[in-house]
Amino acid sequence: MEDAKMVHKVNEIARFFAAYPHDEAVAGIADHLQKFWEPRYRRQLIEYARAGGAGLHPLALEAITSVTVPAEYR
């Protein structure tokens, strides 16, 4: 997936959860990514965030720190 498209998608998720209190929002974003994003895109997202995460919503950036990818997908 193109990075710009990925960033847009993640930010859309963050914009929904932004209406919730901070901790709940971060947990909600992370839970959504973990439950619905296939590991290769979670990996891409984590790598993108580690590289600075340009354009990512602050809540998304925070949430991504708790998103994981199983060993076989790393």
């Binding site: 193109e2 859309e12 914009r15 929904f16 296939e38 290769r40």
Partner: protein, 945 residues
């Protein structure tokens, strides 16, 4: 097998707690108060002769054939219009009654052609039957007098003829059009001898008739007759099955001569449709035997090669070999599959099983991705289950009906007729839609409020309605206290009460006048039973899931959940889109909406299937295409979907498919996606297989094989062959065994068997120990998730905005005569009503651009452009244009973008910023398409040789 004829009780059933006991020809019978004498007679096995009465219509009392004698009363009242009363003693046969009836029949027959032997209704004519029943032996008046025998036939409708020479003016057709269909297209013109049935002084085809067939079904003679019956003669056996068009899931009798369908007749005992139909299900079944059907498997190494016809074994082995090769080279997750919402539950279950158990991953998805995936997400979050709350019959008890982003008269016509009947009986209507859909004002129905919002502002509108409810003290406090989660409610209360959600504050964004919105909210909250029915105008937005939650919030806050007449009801698009979702077609869920990461759930499937299953979500369809472009996804098995035509941003879809090394298509026709396929496996139509469909009201209905599979195998058998070739044994002899496995593995289906389906006719899930015969209304007494959860639904404007370059907003949808990508309906006479996609545009927008009705126009967005003809219409609001996606030559999805629902990736088909301009030539894409399709056809022919 024999021809199934449902018993006709003459007049409709009545509901009453009070019974009345009377005697019919000396036989005692007890019936609900309000029941007619005619029906009471039928209840005790006595059929009173009749012509103008039938139990789908209110009694009319015009034919005078059903006269009876009632002890203590003068005269001979019509039994159809006389209510049964306690203690009545009714006589249905006497010399006097026989004389009267013969007299009536003599008058009818004196003006009726005596061509019974060559009449298409011979063997299925109530006039003929009644002549026999009353013992008609002569017509004293002769046949030479004034008559109607030379009236001209109207054969303009492609599916039925109107022969006024055979008409007895019983008005059954007029009443069926009025009362059952609700179109009011027919009338009785003239008086007395000059009375004549008329579709409004014009041909049927040119009239307002919607060809639902209700008049044909109601006609007791050969006046209105299916052309297929005229051509073939009377059927000799019937097969009860379920329609393969929209999510209403109408039950039909396929009336057959051997292996030929003579006609499809809506089944009176069908619980979704109660004997009604629409033009598609009733008449547009000719595609099943269309010459374009591909009946031999085909393969080719490259998509530029000609197709090569091969045996089933060779095609299956080639596909399996390619999938194995790709996985060996690119990894286990490099392939996936798409299940079909047009196929049966059993077939869909097998495809997802094949992906999970044979491919070894969760890369399975379904077309609900592009339609109602937000429904699943939103209703699961709030109520706890991913489905609508009511049965269709529930609408009869609604006091106010709110239709949001749906056009039922076009897309779900049989339910629309039911809804209109309730509206004519007094329920109020709110329509929330950018377009002035037909339901806003149609004969004897008018919306009290039409909230003509700007596309993309649904959430702002629903929040504003909830704001009114909360700030004006209209919350159902008792319901919320008992049924809903208090902390989430209180948080939502604070959120929604904020002034930024008020109708006055949102009016500038939504375009909905605050006063109208307040009025609609008050009506919804205070009218009694309020029911929401919604469609893809809710889901196909960047905030689709948020909007579903917003509707659920409103319904919970006003206590409109958990009983008849209320609810939140998605009108599902395709025949089995509910079922395909139920069956585990999403990449993150097993059947019954259970996440693949749930170890306990996964272990039950692992034990049953004898394989280790993945606990990570797989790829959604758009992800599959992204991954294909990225080079990590190389093979796909697509059963019964045409993603090139139906999915957004066609260029991206095509790029993804073209990047794959093995695309396997299973379909009836060489669809648009097959242009990028390497293996083509012939599909089987709904007439050719056994199985079940699940409709929008969670109703599981049997699909029964009426003819053998034309290509030799039913779709479920093809999937089994492919699985076996991949080393995954699937040992099923019949779809009933697949359903048994579904029931074993899916708690909400645990009580479902074919035996029970045959016994009950249909079953609404959940069907289990708690509800052995199914669940018509959900969340009665408590939500599936326990307490109802209020969600925070902040309005977030879509990033797809009208700009100077693209100043208009495009929404897309369906029309009555065509269906989805049109693969079925384009291959029927329905093209007489519409043979191309049209762009509906408001007169102001048209005038500003110098566009006249019928002009060829270019429709352009940042994604691409196409051309089509303009239809200037005041149904549109200024700034909004509309078209359909039925015709591949238009390829409207060249124009739509990849913006999608934040939660589910459901595309934002309802908001695309576009410009429209007059043009004189097709787009470059269309020109290339014509050339490519020509190539495809030639390659197919070359392959066939």
């Amino acid at each position: 097998m024999s021809l199934i004829s449902e018993l006709d009780y003459g007049t409709p059933a009545r509901q009453s707690a009070t019974g009345v006991t009377l005697e019919i020809d000396g036989k005692p019978v007890t019936v609900p108060e309000g029941t007619s004498v005619m029906r009471a007679a039928m209840e005790c096995g006595v059929q009173v002769p009749r012509l103008c009465a039938t139990d789908s219509l209110e009694p009319f009392g015009s034919c005078r054939l059903c006269v009876v004698e009632i002890e203590g009363r003068k005269g001979t009242p019509a039994s159809c219009t006389t209510p049964a009363e306690a203690g009545m003693k009714v006589t249905t046969q006497s010399p006097k009654l026989a004389r009267l009836r013969r007299g009536v029949m003599e008058l009818y027959i004196s003006d009726h052609p005596l061509d019974c032997l060559t009449c298409p209704a011979n063997g299925d004519c109530e006039l003929q039957d009644m002549a026999g029943a009353v013992g008609l032996r002569e017509v004293r008046y002769g046949y030479e007098g004034a008559n109607h025998l030379h009236e001209a036939k109207d054969e303009s409708n492609p599916y039925f003829t109107f022969d006024p020479a055979k008409c007895i003016v019983c008005s059954r057709c007029v009443r069926a059009c009025d009362d059952v269909q609700g179109t009011f297209a027919l009338t009785v013109k003239g008086r007395g001898f000059a009375s004549k049935i008329s579709p409004g002084d014009m041909l049927f085809l040119d009239s307002e008739c919607v060809s639902c067939g209700a008049c044909v079904q109601a006609c007791p003679t050969a006046t209105l007759t299916e052309k297929s019956v005229i051509a073939a003669g009377q059927p000799e056996h019937s097969v009860i099955t379920t329609c393969a068009y929209c999510g209403v899931g109408c039950s039909f009798k396929a009336e057959m001569q051997g292996n030929e369908v003579v006609r499809m007749v809506p089944f009176k005992d069908g619980k979704a449709n109660h004997g009604h139909a629409c033009v598609k299900g009733r008449f547009a079944w000719g595609y099943t035997t269309h010459k374009d059907r591909v009946l031999t498997p085909m393969i080719r190494e490259k998509i530029t090669d000609p197709w090569r016809e091969v045996s089933w074994d060779e095609a299956i082995n080639y596909a399996a070999g390619e999938f194995k090769r790709i996985q060996a080279k690119y990894g286990r997750d490099s392939i996936g599959g798409i299940t079909s919402s047009r196929c049966t539950n059993e077939e869909t279950f097998l495809v997802q099983k094949l992906v999970r158990a044979a491919f070894g991953n969760n890369n399975v998805d379904t077309c609900a991705r592009v339609c109602h995936s937000p429904t699943g997400y939103g209703l699961k979050a709030t109520f706890g289950t991913s489905a609508g709350t009511q049965d269709f019959d529930s609408v009869d008890e609604a006091d106010v009906i709110m239709v949001i982003g749906a056009n039922p008269t076009d897309a779900h016509p049989v339910f629309a007729s039911r809804m209109k009947r309730r509206l004519r009986a007094g329920a109020e209507l709110i329509v929330v839609d950018p377009r002035r859909i037909d339901l806003v004002k149609t004969p004897h129905v008018e919306a009290k409020y039409h909230l003509g919002l700007q596309p993309g502002t649904n959430v702002a509108v629903i929040n504003a309605m909830s704001h009114v409810v909360v700030t004006e003290g209209l919350v159902d406090e008792a319901f919320v206290a008992e049924r809903c989660d208090r902390p989430t409610f209180e948080r939502w209360l604070e959120f929604i009460a904020d002034q930024r959600h008020s109708p006055e504050a949102t009016e500038a964004v939504t375009g909905v006048p605050a006063a109208a919105l307040r009025g609609a909210a008050r009506l919804y909250a205070t009218a009694g039973n309020a029911a929401i029915y919604y469609g893809l105008g809710v889901t196909e937005h960047s905030q689709g899931s948020t909007m579903v939650m917003g509707m659920a919030n409103l319904a919970m806050a006003t206590g409109n959940i958990g009983r008849r007449g209320v609810g939140v009801n998605p009108l599902r698009g395709q025949n089995n889109v509910q079922g395909s979702c139920d069956m585990g077609s999403f990449p993150h869920e097993f059947s019954g909406y259970r996440h693949v990461s749930d170890d306990a759930v996964r272990s039950t499937f692992e034990e049953a299937w004898g394989v280790i299953l993945g606990g990570e979500p797989g790829l959604r369809i758009p992800n599959m295409l992204d991954a294909a472009v990225d080079g990590t996804f190389k093979g796909i098995y697509i059963q019964g979907e045409d993603i090139v035509q139906s999915d957004p941003n066609m260029r991206h879809v095509v790029a993804g498919l073209a990047a794959m090394e093995c695309v396997v298509i299973q379909d009836l026709f060489l669809n648009e996606t097959s242009s990028y396929a390497h293996v083509f496996l012939p599909g089987s139509s709904f007439l050719e297989k056994d199985g079940t469909f699940t409709n929008a009201e969670r109703r599981i209905s049997r699909v029964r094989r009426a003819i053998p599979p034309m290509a030799g195998l039913a779709d479920w058998e093809v999937t089994i062959a492919l699985a076996r070739a991949l080393g995954c044994e699937m040992a099923y002899e019949h779809p009933a065994e697949i359903m048994d496995e579904i029931a074993r593995l899916t708690p909400t289906f645990s009580g479902v068997t074919y035996e029970k389906l045959d016994r009950l006719g249909s079953i609404q899930w959940p069907c289990n120990d708690n509800a052995p015969e199914g669940t018509p209304v959900m969340h009665v007494g408590g939500f599936v998730r326990g307490k109802g959860q209020f969600m925070i639904t902040e309005f977030v404007a879509t990033d797809e905005r009208a700009t100077d370059r693209f100043p208009l907003l495009l929404t897309t949808g369906r029309i009555l005569s065509q269906y989805n990508v049109g693969a079925q309906t384009r291959r029927t006479a329905n093209v007489l009503w519409r043979s191309e996609d049209l762009l509906e545009i408001h007169p102001w927008d048209a005038e500003n651009r110098g566009i006249n009705d019928g002009d060829l126009v270019e429709l352009a967005s940042r994604a691409g452009s196409t051309t089509l003809h303009a239809s200037v219409s005041e149904r549109m609001q200024p700034g909004v244009v509309y078209t359909t996606f039925h015709f591949p030559g238009t390829a409207v999805n060249v124009v739509t973008t990849e913006f999608a629902d934040w939660a589910t990736d459901c595309p934002e088909y309802k908001v695309t910023a576009v410009q429209v301009a007059k043009t004189s030539r097709p787009s470059a894409w269309q020109a290339a398409y014509e050339e490519t399709r020509g190539e495809t056809t030639r390659r197919k022919r070359a392959g066939s040789r």
